[in-house]
């Protein structure tokens, strides 16, 4: 029941997110087109297509096809909000979590099936509310996905009224969805593992989901509180984040609360991706994961350190250098477990027998792009350097390298990999690889130049950079980025098409088409209600590939012929 729910959530989130994705770039590129007087063709197109009241909306927000600054502010706000809260977390944690956890730990269902359904429907409700925000007068939230007060806490500063309120309410509900889901995941993983499935025989993706569930459970209450305070400020006249000293409020409070949640949140975005990458890399190198226990401890360290670095988002808020130094040190230290994981992935592939299947390509891309994102993070961790690059496109480049280059490639890889388990068919291999290459190339062309923009002084969140004399030299680069971004966006249609087409016309797959050890492949396909015909007993770790003396190069975790092996480290 819930793996189908997971699959549906995946599709639902997909539709919701993709219309948003190109928009901030469209806004920017239309500005540039406008400077060059090329916009008349777009004029005519808009008029022809939208003849009803939609045109009026366009007139207000995009007169002559040009994006107004207020509209632009809304676009990047909603792009980020939707991608973070309604795409990456629902797919990685919601969809993959629901689908993989019971199957991979060898149990029939989640610990609390009804609670799980509640979690799903709360997320749907949150998404509906978020969508409604687009249609209210004043437009949707426009204070950035970070929603800094007092810009966000008083409608007079942005002109956005109910949009921002709905934004806050929606995220509050989404928070409950995550928290409730987390309770389920934690309980299920602790209590419902199949006989023989010790903690150190869990696949790394399950470890990552377990850790992420704990992070979400502890972090979301802070965001929920901040959102509640924000709603009170906006609707009940309180002054928690007030811009004036009279009410006793402090705008910095919002930043602390938001980032205390926000930093663990970004580790939530990356950790399951790391888990998926570990699966893909071990399976397609036909070799055990290098350093299984270190991988687990590294994920735990990242999660733990993630709680004490939030100040690095606030280095420029007027922080004393002593405090800045503390946050700088803890932030730089997070690079160490991340580096350990990277070396371990390399170590897994080293002397392996690498098969370049579509999922593996994504796994390798994950590692390489995560390295870039991680390295750029070191610059930002460094407070004096961050003084320059804070709030520039350098930050945008970093964010996208880790979330897109990291999490999203892991998601794509995971989808292609587990598709045969979900639907009993392969996704079309040629299309999957074309999608991969187009995405990989377009992604790098879009986001790598942003490092250069940032270092050159190009700020974030500005609707028209060309009015600044010193940014005019970057016009060419901005156009290149926009064109690459369009390509990137359209390339995703290949995946969407492949997904739906393969559900009906894909090549039929046998039960364990990739020859994988983990338990989910023991269940029949399509997975029935109750998952397994018989609950398996686990005899070995998840990464026993190419064991000498065995006939095949893989052994299912549930296969009993030999004495139980030591856990995979």
């Amino acid at each position: 029941m819930f793996f189908v729910g997971g699959g549906l959530a995946l599709l639902f989130r997909w539709q919701l997110a993709y219309p948003e994705k190109p928009l901030p770039i469209i806004g920017a590129s239309q500005q540039y087109l406008d400077e060059g007087e090329v916009v008349t063709g777009a004029d005519r197109m808009w008029e022809k297509i939208y003849e009803s009241e939609q045109e009026e909306w366009l007139e207000v927000n995009m007169p002559s096809g040009v994006v107004e600054p207020a509209f632009y502010n809304m676009l990047f706000t909603m792009h980020a909000t939707i991608m973070v809260f309604f795409v990456v977390v629902p797919i990685l944690v919601g969809a993959f979590g629901n689908f993989l956890i019971p199957l991979m730990i060898g149990t029939r269902d989640m610990a609390f099936p009804l609670l799980n359904m509640i979690s799903f429907w709360l997320a749907v409700l949150a998404a509906i509310i978020m969508t409604v925000g687009f249609f209210v007068p004043g437009g949707h939230a426009a204070a950035g996905w970070t929603g800094y007060a007092p810009l966000s806490s008083d409608p007079q500063w942005t002109g956005v009224d109910w949009g921002q309120n709905l934004w806050a309410i929606s995220l509050l509900i989404q928070g409950f969805s995550s928290m409730v889901g987390s309770i389920n995941y934690i309980t299920t993983i602790i209590n419902m593992r199949a006989p023989g499935m010790t903690f150190f025989r869990l696949p790394l993706v399950i470890w990552s989901l377990f850790i992420v569930a704990i992070l979400l459970l502890l972090a979301f209450p802070v965001l929920s509180s901040a959102l509640a305070l924000l709603i009170f400020d906006r609707l009940a006249g309180t002054t928690f984040f007030s811009a004036t000293a009279e009410g006793g409020g402090d705008p910095l409070l919002w930043q602390h609360l938001f980032w205390f949640f926000g930093h663990p949140e970004v580790y939530v975005l990356i950790l399951p991706g790391m888990g998926i990458a570990s699966e893909l890399i071990a399976v397609f190198s036909r070799k055990p994961i290098f350093g299984y226990r270190s991988m687990v401890y590294a994920m735990i360290s990242i999660a733990f350190l993630g709680w004490i670095v939030w100040g690095h988002h606030m280095f420029q808020s007027g922080m004393q250098p002593g405090l800045g130094s503390v946050f700088m040190t803890t932030t730089m230290l997070i690079a160490v477990p991340s580096a350990i994981k990277t070396f371990n992935w390399l170590g897994t592939m080293f002397r392996g027998s690498i098969r370049f299947t579509a999922p593996m390509l994504h796994g390798i891309a994950f590692v390489s792009m995560f390295v870039i994102g991680g390295l750029s993070g070191i610059y930002m961790a460094n407070t004096p350097v961050d003084i320059f690059i804070h709030d520039t496109y350098y930050i945008v480049a970093h964010i996208h390298y880790v979330v897109f280059g990291g999490s999203l490639f892991a998601i794509f890889g995971g989808i292609v990999f587990w598709f045969p388990k979900m639907y009993g068919r392969y996704m079309n291999d040629v299309l999957a690889k074309i999608h991969f290459w187009l995405t990989f190339i377009a992604f790098n062309c879009t986001f790598f130049p942003m490092h250069i923009l940032g270092v050159g002084g190009h700020m974030r969140r500005i609707s028209n950079p060309m009015q600044y004399e010193f940014l005019q030299g970057f016009e060419g680069m901005n156009i290149f980025i926009s064109m690459s971004a369009f390509t990137l966006g359209f390339a995703q249609l290949i995946l969407v098409f492949n997904f739906f087409w393969s559900m009906y016309r894909g090549k039929v797959a046998e039960q364990n088409p990739w020859q994988v050890n983990t338990l989910e492949w023991e269940a029949p396909t399509p997975v029935p209600h109750g998952n397994f015909v018989q609950i398996p007993t686990v005899y070995r770790g998840p990464y026993e590939y190419s064991v000498p003396g065995e006939e095949s190069d893989w052994i299912s975790q549930a296969q009993p012929e030999h004495a139980p092996a030591t856990s995979g480290d």
């Binding site: 600054p69 207020a70 730089m332 690079a335 592939m349 460094n382 004096p384 500005i462």
Partner: protein
């Protein structure tokens, strides 16, 4: 189990092509990594704050480039060298390697702590204006939606009050101590060529210092540089920029002398 594998797990013709693509991408990376010479570029500071930031930045660039080349290079090598080929023996069972793992834990930690300590020193240095580089000029900066207001409480040493909008004039070779406030929402004060960036937060006073160094400025004075608001502050955030004009000491005093506040408007009777 192994028949039909080969076909499923990547046909041979595939591999040389992916090497070529990797190669092309690698070259593109290196090309695009070339320094940009934008006007506001960080590579061209005109003041000690920006200069110290740049020094640290350069150290990081070199370190990270080396790490990048090593790690991505290792990745590319491994991916090519250990691709599946027919007739290969099975991969060995390597579950870990303690000595290697300890090394690659300690080395990054040491490297990072080293960089961190250097940065801490720089951070403290950048926090307070130097007291031995000339008389400190104090200016109060107030962020508004959507302009910066500059108030000199004592522009000429005799208590003259000056107030400008989006127009910061400073004498060269003297530290300028800024007190930053906001009238409404968060803004952020940033002059890239001079360095330093601090948010202006309503209900708070933040501080920052700048200095224009005549040794670093290539043009004739007075020279104009740009600053911009670097924190989303509403609809016209993108339009919120200001100019910083660096003048010689005499020119600066000349400007102060000639400055007179705009006449107060008297209401009609």
């Amino acid at each position: 189990m192994s028949s039909g594998d080969h076909e499923r797990f990547a046909p041979r013709w595939y591999r040389p092509r992916r090497l070529a693509v990797f190669g092309v991408i690698a070259v593109l990376f290196l090309l695009t990594a070339a320094c940009s010479q934008g006007i506001q570029s960080t590579w061209d500071p005109i003041g000690p704050v920006a200069q110290k930031q740049l020094q640290l930045f350069e150290v990081l660039v070199w370190t990270m480039v080396i790490v990048f080349v090593l790690v991505e290079g290792a990745l590319i090598y491994i991916v090519i060298r250990y691709r599946r080929r027919p007739g290969q023996p099975r991969p060995p069972q390597i579950h870990g390697h303690t000595a290697l793992e300890v090394t690659w834990t300690i080395v990054p930690t040491v490297l990072i702590l080293g960089l961190g300590i250097w940065s801490v020193f720089t951070l403290f240095e950048l926090d307070q204006p130097p007291t031995d580089q000339g008389e400190i000029l104090e200016v109060t900066v107030t962020g508004h939606q959507w302009y910066f207001e500059f108030e000199y409480a004592d522009a000429d040493g005799n208590g003259k009050l000056i107030s400008t909008a989006n127009d910061l004039r400073i004498p060269v070779d003297r530290p300028i101590s800024l007190i930053l406030e906001s009238d409404d929402v968060l803004h952020s004060f940033w002059v890239p060529k001079l360095g330093g960036k601090v948010d202006v937060v309503p209900t708070r006073q933040n501080t920052m210092w700048l200095m224009a160094d005549s040794d670093l400025i290539e043009q004739q004075l007075p020279a104009t540089y740009y600053g911009q608001c670097a924190e989303l502050c509403g609809i016209a955030h993108a339009q919120m920029r200001f100019r910083v004009t660096v003048m010689s000491e005499e020119d600066y005093h000349g400007w102060v002398r000639e400055y007179s506040p705009p006449p107060a408007l008297t209401p009609r009777a």
